[in-house]
Amino acid sequence: MFKFIYFFMIVVAGTGGELCVSRAMKETGEVKDFRPAAVVKVILRALRLKWMWIGVGLMMLAFFSLLAVLSIEKVSFVVPVTALSYVAGALGGKFFLGERISLRRWTGIALVCIGVTLVFLGRG
């Protein structure tokens, strides 16, 4: 049961965290100036948004869950399961960020999912 909660946290909190950071950056607006001072200014502006802090908090939760589950399960089992993040990410992008995901992009995401699983099944 604990394992299920950990996996749930890794996939949902991890992807949720990245979606929140993504939302914060969409609110910050498109970065056009890449000089170091301008980039620092963008980061400071992003840090004023609540989505950025929620995102980083969720990502930390996912990281600690990953450490916890790695202490009881094999890496070769854990990582293919976390490939589910790609599906969660696509769904989150569609429903939370209002992105339009074409059939072509869904096909690519499915292939990435299969590939990530094979990479970790192929561990020596």
Binding site: G92, L97, S102, I114, V116, G124
Partner: protein, 138 residues
């Protein structure tokens, strides 16, 4: 369209930085932590000793700098590109990790793993042919 090309170019550059800096950071951190050795903490002085050893490792600092570069490139690209575009595209990092382990650390990579990397690359290629941005910006 000129602005579409510009958008694709800067997306490409940022994802390139991500898929190099991310895996490089992990490999450097891994190497640094292996040099630090097995961590056993029995008292607070042990903890201070371990923290001291970790902070004294050049590899750890290089790894942290590399991961910080990855994080900044990641948030910058997310300011204009779709998350559902960036997330699968940056999975090319799995291939870069395999290459770094072969050439930098001398590890062996199984055929099944190379197959997986080939399928990821194909998936990324397909995602890469979609428009990086499908939402309107305010």
């Amino acid at each position: 369209m000129e602005s579409h090309k510009r958008l694709q170019f800067k997306t490409f550059v940022m994802i390139l930085i991500m898929i190099i800096a991310g895996p490089l950071g992990n490999v450097l951190l891994g190497k640094g932590m292996k040099n630090v050795g097995t961590i056993t903490i029995a008292s607070s002085s042990d903890l201070a000793h371990v923290v001291g050893r970790v902070l004294a490792s050049t590899f750890v600092w290089l790894g942290v700098a590399s991961l910080l570069t990855f994080f900044i490139a990641n948030i910058l690209v997310l300011s204009w590109a779709d998350y559902s575009f960036v997330q699968p595209a940056s999975s090319l990092a799995y291939g870069v990790v395999a290459l770094l382990s072969v050439f930098l650390l001398g590890e062996s990579v199984s055929p099944l793993r190379w197959t997986g990397i080939a399928i990821i690359s194909l998936g990324v290629l397909i995602v890469g042919r979609t428009n990086p941005r499908t939402t309107e910006h305010c």
